[in-house]
């Protein structure tokens, strides 16, 4: 239990929070989703994965927490190599924010946030939905941190607006003090103003805690504004990896407008 509540140990790690080395993914139908992807994300860094639909962004993110199996290469989280054997332990260092928020709509905001610690709770606690006092307090603190009020705490998640639901999802993600936050198109279903609020919140909250963020986006302007670094994917291949300032029009043209080369 102790090692989840003290981030100091983890932040002492000098190496990257997340690293991909020659990662590839081929689906059963022979479709090559990713090929030889290699890059690192440092603690506290906001790394944007930019790419058109079907470029492999989501697949890349979902491989980090084992929702999709890795076909080749290696993924390491805080220096620990991912495998089926240690998946349960590694998952506790990773949080995920989803495009459709993926909240439990019929449960309250507080219950949704506290569910972020489920991996550390006994089954019996989950059965009666009663969490330790420390978890409850932390959840309340995070609900406040993401900009929701006391009147939201015990309201059903389904009754919140899209932006508010995504804030709840962010609070849920922060509950387990993650070393890595995966954000899969977190603002794709939000309007532009709220998209800015949400991305800003993810960046700040992650920076405060020294968590690395791997965030997939398909809007270049948002990527430029919020990314500390941008990794651009085109048909499963990394075509750009660098700071936002170096992202050229040529790269954008390649990932969004160029027709596929003949196979």
């Amino acid at each position: 239990m102790r090692d989840f509540n003290s981030c100091e140990d983890r932040l002492a790690i000098d190496g990257p929070a997340l690293s991909f080395t020659g990662v590839s993914k081929a689906f059963g139908d022979g479709h090559q989703a990713l090929a030889d992807v290699s890059f690192d994300v440092a603690p506290g860094e906001f790394c944007v994965v930019l790419g058109a639909s079907g470029s492999g962004k989501t697949t890349l993110l979902r491989m980090v927490n084992g929702l999709v199996d890795v076909s080749g290469g290696e993924i390491a989280v805080t220096g620990e190599r991912l495998s089926t054997a240690n998946m349960a332990r590694v998952r506790r260092k990773i949080a995920m924010i989803h495009q459709q928020f993926n909240l439990i709509e019929r449960l309250s905001v507080a219950q949704n946030v506290m569910a972020g610690t489920l991996a550390q709770q006994t089954v019996w606690r989950a059965m009666i939905k009663l969490y330790p006092r420390s978890v409850q307090n932390k959840a309340l603190e995070l609900i406040k941190r993401v900009g929701l009020g006391a009147d939201h705490v015990n309201r059903r998640a389904a009754r919140l607006s899209g932006g508010q639901q995504q804030r709840v999802a962010i609070a849920r993600a922060l509950m387990c003090d993650p070393a890595v936050i995966l954000a899969d198109e977190p603002v794709a279903s939000l309007d532009p103003k709220i998209a800015h609020d949400v991305l800003g919140l993810i960046r700040e909250a992650a920076r405060e805690r020294g968590a690395a963020v791997l965030c997939s986006l398909h809007q270049p302007d948002l990527a430029r504004q919020y990314g500390d670094r941008i990794v651009a994917l085109h048909q499963g291949v990394v075509v750009f990896n660098g700071p936002p300032s170096a992202l050229s029009g040529d790269v954008l043209h390649q990932i969004y407008h160029m027709s596929a080369p003949a196979a």
């Binding site: 927490n65 995920m96 709509e105 019929r106 569910a115 489920l118 991996a119 989950a126």
Partner: protein, 339 residues
């Protein structure tokens, strides 16, 4: 790369697919022929002939009809329904005139009896006076206690069915079962339970447990567990995958995911199905009573066999009012839970 060729390897054409073809039509004709043959063998035409006659008779086109006569005879005997209970004092054990049941009184009635005169070997009519205890709402009260017993049977059967079906649903939900062999076995058990008609199960359980509510409760439980087990499992399989995936990504265990990301979502549907089972169990509790499963059905069967249709009328009326009333309550609960 997507192939330019369509599904069957033919280049797609710029035309809207026809919604149905000649195969559908031939299929329809075959189904109609089979249904016609079946209807003829079962004598379904009598439905139309006899109802037609009854309608004709009721508007005066025809003297009388078989259906009208039967309905008229039964309703004639059922109404007025019996509410009071009359018992000859001589048939009451330890009768104490000083301590009558509340709201009851005694009446003296002249009773005529045919007696065989041993001297003349002729039947003679003898009149003698009999004292009768009259309870003005006695029979109605008795039927109501039997109705309460019936509701109790239904509620217990529903509770037992829920308890039995929850683990069965867990094991027979494709996405949560621990192993596909267990999945198959659990689905088999659920189907088996569901395929056993309550009335038949009750017949055998009455032999095992004797007449009374226990046999009725168990018969309803088995069928109900099969019913709920299937529907709970189907709900679990169809529940929104996204919240489940969110908890899976966090690293939550299967049971925790089931409890927190599935149960809250399927609860309205679970409740609706459980309330439907309760509603159905109340009606079926009356039916299993017919074969000795306790409750109002047992009383109904006894009175029906004695041709006491006025009492059958009381029972049916109470049953009808109860079912309608409980339906109102159930729909209110459902509305409350769904909001």
């Amino acid at each position: 790369m997507k192939s330019v060729l369509g599904r069957r390897g033919v280049a797609p054409s710029w035309s809207v697919q026809r919604p149905f073809g000649w195969r559908t039509l031939i299929g329809l004709v075959i189904i109609l022929v089979i249904m016609g043959d079946s209807a003829h063998r079962l004598g379904l035409e009598r439905i139309f002939i006899q109802t037609g006659e009854a309608i004709a008779a009721s508007v005066g086109l025809q003297e009388r009809s078989q259906l009208g006569d039967a309905v008229g005879r039964i309703t004639g005997e059922m109404f007025p329904i019996t509410i009071e209970e009359r018992k000859p004092v001589t048939r009451i054990e330890n009768f104490d005139e000083a301590r009558l049941p509340p709201f009851s009184h005694l009446e003296s009635v002249d009773v005529q009896e045919q007696v065989l005169n041993s001297d003349t070997l002729q039947l003679e009519t003898v009149t003698h006076t009999q004292r009768v205890l009259v309870e003005p709402a006695g029979y109605l009260l008795y039927v109501l206690t039997k109705m309460v017993e019936t509701i109790e049977i239904a509620i217990w059967a529903t509770i037992f069915a829920i308890v039995m079906s929850l683990p069965l649903a867990y094991l027979s939900a494709r996405n949560y079962t621990p192993h596909f062999v267990i999945y198959g076995a659990a689905r088999g058990v659920v189907s088996f339970f569901r395929s056993m008609p309550e009335l038949i199960t009750a017949l055998f359980l009455v032999i095992a447990f004797g007449f009374g509510p226990v046999a009725g409760i168990l018969a309803l439980t088995l069928h109900g567990a099969g019913f709920l087990g299937k529907f709970y499992a189907d709900d679990i399989e169809a529940a929104d995958k996204r919240p489940q995936e969110a908890l899976q990504a966090i690293g939550a265990g299967q049971l925790s995911i089931l409890r927190l990301a599935v149960i809250p979502q399927v609860l309205p549907s679970f409740t609706a199905q459980t309330l439907y089972l309760l509603d159905r169990n109340i009606r079926m509790a009356a039916v299993v009573g017919l074969v000795g499963g306790g409750g109002i059905g047992q009383e109904l069967k006894g009175r029906y066999d004695l041709f006491e249709y006025d009492r059958v009328g009381t029972i049916l009326l109470v049953l009808f009012i109860t079912v309608v009333g409980l339906d109102q309550i159930a729909s209110r609960i459902r509305r409350h839970l769904l909001s």
